[in-house]
């Protein structure tokens, strides 16, 4: 059960944020416990905060954090709560700082090509406004219509079109953050809030990108304004063999086309899964064992020329163009593409409503085929163990910023019949999760390209992945958060305090 806060603390919070923005009622806390990642619903009470505040200024956030330090109460920042690594899931109850009211556009600077916003704003809603001025903010994850800028910084998000426009860490120029001890500082490249590149002092922006709310709470961010694309081009090619598709992916990624925004590789398991209910894949012949999709954005003349080059590569790779309807329709569906529970199937083919695990490792291109085999073996052993697991196949997406070659965001999707959890199945899941992460590390990759790696199972291997870097991580955590109040328990960072 939630640790109740002292009445005097609730009163202090109300004095800081206003009584209308402080909640300790059950519905307020039970509805801020989870994120879309598979959730131990059988232990829901373990993850509720004690109280929730909805601040409207950095000053309020700072005072709440100082109060929390005084009383040694944990603080958990929450933007959209749409992340996939449990960054926003409270592990020790405490005060949940929900930044959704801080969703204004604060400044539009045409001369410097920046827009400054609150952390509670969503990218799609922002772009509906920016469009009027001929701009776009092209940070485009699968959660594009619902994730918020604060969370994008908290996770160091990935964008579907990052190979062209960069990812969150490239598109966020600078931001204001309340440190775990309450100081409000601004970080960027150097000091000027609209400077894109600096070598003055330590480059602190990068430290906080992906901190999962363990190093503070973002209260404002200054973002890039990109010219709205004149043209979009997307193409889907099908292959009779996964390895042909994999090779074609590499060819497209190395094409040198400047407007190329992303390449996506679908494996055989993913095609099989999409045949269940996706109108684009149901009619595909059984011989289709791989699909490659790519898209370009930019000035119409440049996109046209780039598109023809890519189409030639597609043809030469032995793939079959899947037609405009699929190429355009399926691409458009990728801007908001979280799984729906009806995709789940039991062994006898019956529909079961399943939650969605989305692995998101960074895997070097040459390792993709073998990682796919190992991951599917792990998924299969889960499926063999119980009907509550289901293998939904793999994607691989270009992962580099401004460059389509290099490593890939390798995604294996596993359906989990959440309502069947018990402690035993949860433990088996955690073990499998750890094994998936181990494969990524063993093949020169990273456990997570963009969600973060805070979850049970994978987090155990973070010290393995980072090596000596993990010691540095602990040192930084301990210096910035001496009382261990900022999202405590994440990333094994309690270890930072054990020597004391």
């Amino acid at each position: 059960m939630a640790i109740a806060l002292l009445d005097s603390v609730i009163d202090d919070l109300a004095a800081i944020c206003g009584p209308d923005h402080v909640f300790s009622g059950r519905s307020a806390v039970f509805n801020r416990a989870r994120v879309p990642a598979p959730f131990p619903a059988h232990r829901w009470e373990d993850h509720v905060p004690s109280a929730v505040v909805l601040p409207t200024s950095a000053q309020q956030v700072s005072e709440v954090v100082k109060l929390a330090n005084e009383h040694r109460i944990p603080v958990v920042p929450r933007a959209g709560g749409t992340g996939l690594t449990d960054g926003a899931v409270p592990l020790r109850h405490g005060i949940l700082v929900d930044v959704k009211l801080m969703n204004q556009i604060l400044e539009l600077d045409h001369a410097n090509r920046t827009v400054t916003v609150g952390p509670g704003i969503n990218m799609l809603k922002l772009n509906e406004e920016l469009r009027k001025h001929g701009y776009i903010y092209p940070d485009n994850p699968a959660s594009y219509p619902c994730s918020l800028v604060g969370g994008r910084i908290g996770t160091s998000g990935w964008s579907l079109i990052g190979a062209r426009y960069g990812h969150t860490r490239d598109l966020v120029i600078s931001f204001e953050i309340v440190l775990p001890t309450g100081e409000i500082i601004r970080v960027g490249d150097g000091g000027g809030p609209k400077v894109r590149k600096s070598s003055s002092g330590y480059q602190l922006k990068h430290l906080f990108m992906g901190h999962q709310g363990t190093l503070g709470i973002v209260t404002e961010a200054t973002l890039e304004l990109v010219p709205r694309p004149e043209a979009e081009f997307s193409m889907f090619f099908s292959y009779q063999d996964y390895m042909d598709a994999w090779r074609a992916t590499g060819d497209l990624a190395r094409s040198g086309v400047a407007t190329l925004a992303g390449v996506v590789l679908f494996d055989e398991w993913k095609i099989k899964y999409l045949r269940r209910d996706d109108e684009a894949y149901i009619p595909q012949p059984d011989s289709v064992k791989g699909v490659v999709a790519c898209a370009c954005y930019g000035n119409a003349d440049e996109v046209r020329v780039g598109a023809k080059r890519l189409l030639r590569i597609g043809k030469a790779s032995g793939g079959g163009y899947m037609g405009d309807e699929i190429s355009q329709g399926d691409w458009a569906s990728r801007h908001d593409r979280y799984a729906t529970p009806q995709h789940g199937r039991t062994r006898d083919g019956q529909v079961a409503l399943m939650s969605w695990h989305c692995e998101d490792a960074s895997i070097p291109y040459p390792e993709l085929p073998v990682v796919r085999e190992k991951w599917h073996a792990i998924a299969q052993s889960l499926c063999d163990r119980s009907d509550m697991f289901d293998d939904w196949g793999m994607f691989a997406y270009t992962n580099g910023a401004y460059k389509p070659w290099g490593d890939y965001l390798a995604e294996v999707d596993i359906g989990i019949w959440e309502m069947k959890w018990d402690d035993e199945s949860w433990a088996a899941w955690v073990d499998a999760k750890r094994e998936l992460a181990r494969v990524s590390i063993e093949h020169g990759g990273s456990i997570s390209a963009c969600h973060g790696s805070c979850r049970e199972g994978e987090v155990d291997l973070v010290p393995v992945e980072l090596g000596g870097g993990f010691e540095v991580m602990k040192t930084i955590k301990r210096s910035l958060d001496p009382n261990n109040i900022m999202n405590p328990g994440k990333y094994l960072l309690d270890q930072a305090y054990e020597e004391e």
Binding site: A231, E232, V351
Partner: protein, 86 residues
């Protein structure tokens, strides 16, 4: 008929497409209802509501294209050009 009449809203008979998919309306697929009997049951969705979902999906996708860029290039047209050039 312009308005709503209950009998006109009953879904038509399903035709088989493959061993797990059926179809009642042209170009629209549906799951074989036999696969939704044990763990989750289907809902009663009248034809007007069904049509609304299908149409809305295409309208949403068109909106997404327009949200990101002013125009879309056609792969089929460009391939035809490439054929002529090569």
């Amino acid at each position: 008929m312009l308005g709503f009449r209950l009998s006109a809203e009953k879904p038509p008979e399903a035709e088989r497409v493959n061993d797990v998919v059926v179809s009642r309306f042209e170009h629209v697929y549906e799951i074989d209802p036999a696969l939704m009997t044990e763990h989750v049951r289907q809902q009663d969705i009248p034809n007007w509501d069904f049509r609304r979902i299908v149409d809305s999906r295409w309208e949403h996708l068109a909106w997404m294209h327009d949200h990101f860029a002013d125009s879309i290039l056609s792969g089929e047209e460009l391939l035809a050009e490439i054929e002529k050039e090569d």
